[in-house]
């Protein structure tokens, strides 16, 4: 039942995304701009990582894509609530969890599609990385997308207006981006900043994907990144489930 219901909600949501067209590409615009206009600045700089500057920057941009794309996913449910669509579905016997998972999987699909576009553009700009590492990178994008989209939908279902939603999400997104070393590795940072960045879960994912792009799949970074990503996703889906199950939400 859960599987069928999830497939049903997923199908409806994906058709909505496909119908709007622009939405499929909108999220990838910012990372592409960074790739084209910021990436070339780094090619000659000593970033301290293994391999080229593209192997450092592209993992960051991939996670930036997932960070912003998934964090704002819940915006759509505020509009659907106002249209009455959410309650209309909640009075049917459909699984509450499916109402969350169908949406989260739709966002994950769209973000993976955008991630592929971004990597293709990066290859054209000069990125060279092992195929395995690129696939591992997509795996982390998917995990982060599932986690953040779940939290975002939970928030979207809880708040009454878009005006409450946006500042909260921005308040999470910007510090996460700056403190996780998305743009430049935290190994360049002074000790206090590096220490502070370890509080941000995203930091561990960034380190893991950078290692994957450099071809090292068994490093401590990879293990820690994987643990944090999976743990965070489990926690976030649990929170999302609780909110979607609560009758009054």
């Amino acid at each position: 039942m859960l599987f069928k219901d999830t497939a049903l909600v997923y199908g409806r949501c994906l058709r909505q995304s496909l119908r709007s067209g622009v939405a499929l590409f909108f999220g990838v615009l910012t990372p592409l701009l960074y790739l084209f206009f910021f990436g070339p600045l780094l090619t000659g700089l000593p970033l301290g990582g293994q391999g080229s500057s593209w192997q450092v920057l592209v993992p960051g941009l991939l996670l930036q894509l997932a960070l912003f794309g998934a964090l704002f996913a819940g915006f759509s449910i505020i509009l659907e609530k106002a249209q009455g669509v959410v309650e209309r579905m909640r009075v049917t016997p459909v699984s509450r969890l499916a109402l969350l998972l169908g949406r989260v999987l739709r966002d994950t699909t769209v973000l993976l599609f955008q991630a592929v576009l971004l990597v293709l553009a990066a290859l054209a700009m000069g990125l060279r990385a092992p195929l395995g590492g690129i696939l591992v990178g997509f795996g982390f994008v998917a995990l982060l997308a599932v986690a953040l989209a779940s939290l975002s939908y939970a928030l979207g279902l809880t708040v009454a207006t878009p005006q409450e939603f946006a500042p909260l999400v921005n308040g999470v997104a910007m510090p996460s981006m700056l403190l996780s070393g998305l743009m430049l590795p935290m190994s360049l940072a002074p000790a206090w900043l590096d220490a502070l960045s370890h509080v941000v879960p995203l930091r561990y994912l960034v380190d893991a994907v950078r290692d994957a792009y450099a071809g090292s799949y068994t490093s401590p970074h990879m293990l820690r990144g994987l643990l944090v990503a999976v743990g965070f996703a489990v926690l976030a889906v649990t929170v999302g489930t609780r909110v979607f199950r609560r009758a009054g939400a």
């Binding site: 709007s20 249209q83 009075v91 049917t92 016997p93 459909v94 009758a247």
Partner: protein, 261 residues
């Protein structure tokens, strides 16, 4: 007649920053099978909150209720199977076609793909939406939109249909059509209809029995003529007079300046 909805002391308190708000203090209510019940009350009386509890959208903080024999709290899925609900705002996506919304709704009620397609066709025919199946819902008129909302709620042939202010914003012709539709549902399928409205002529014309709530409790109930006799002095009085006498509210003076323009 058997009771299809019964509530005892049903209550909901919201916790807010400024302390608890008792939206519904304790509703006792019985609705019989095949009855059209008008649920009336001033704005803020607790009508929508009660309706949301009876349709499992909101958990009660006190009291109990059953719908079609299923308890709201212990068997919400049973309640959902037995009832259809049309919210004030409706519940369709403007960019999606009438057909896709109807088919999706059928699938949400666990019909197979083929059954859902067939049911969508049937409902469209029954509710006068035949020619509109491939139209986006945003392109429907107000009356057509309302019929679609009701078609969606009828997908699984529910025993109880909840309608929250179903004719608000409709032109007189569409309102009359909707009244006919509600009567037909009851006559042909024995559907119990629980409707809230602010239009007292609608309540008078359509409902077999009225329940008036105010400040979160039931303050009067009976047939429209009984309420008029009891509260407005005569069966020929208007329901408006009876309603104002029951709720103790007077209409605003005609010359009062509007609060905002």
């Amino acid at each position: 007649m058997a009771a299809v909805i019964s509530a005892a002391g049903l209550a909901r308190t919201f916790r807010t920053k400024r302390g608890p708000v008792q939206a519904v203090r304790g509703i006792d209510l019985t609705v019989h099978e095949g009855e059209i019940l008008g649920f009336l009350g001033p704005n803020g009386a607790g009508k929508t909150t009660t309706l949301r509890m009876l349709t499992t959208l909101l958990a009660p903080t006190g009291g109990t209720a059953t719908v079609a024999g299923c308890d709201l709290v212990t068997d919400p899925v049973g309640v959902r199977r037995a009832c259809g609900c049309v919210a004030q705002s409706g519940g369709v996506d403007g960019q999606i076609t009438v057909r896709e919304e109807l088919v999706t709704q059928g699938r949400l009620y666990r019909l197979t793909k083929a059954e859902a397609v067939e049911r969508a066709r049937e409902l469209a025919q029954d509710l006068g939406l035949d020619g509109l199946l491939d139209r986006r819902t945003a392109a429907l008129s107000g009356g057509q939109r309302r019929r679609l909302d009701i078609a969606m709620a009828l997908t699984h042939r529910p025993r109880v249909l909840f309608l929250d202010e179903p004719t608000t914003g409709l032109d007189p012709g569409s309102r009359a059509d909707l009244w006919d539709l509600v009567r037909r549902l009851r006559d042909e399928h024995g559907t119990t209809v629980f409707l809230t409205t602010h239009y007292l002529d609608e309540a008078d014309a359509l409902a077999d029995r009225l329940v008036v709530v105010d400040h979160g409790v039931v303050v009067a109930e009976g047939t429209p003529s009984a309420l008029k006799r009891e509260h407005a002095g005569s069966a020929d009085a208007s329901l408006q007079d009876a309603f104002l006498a029951i709720t103790g509210r007077r209409p605003a003076p005609a010359d009062a300046a509007p609060v905002a323009i």
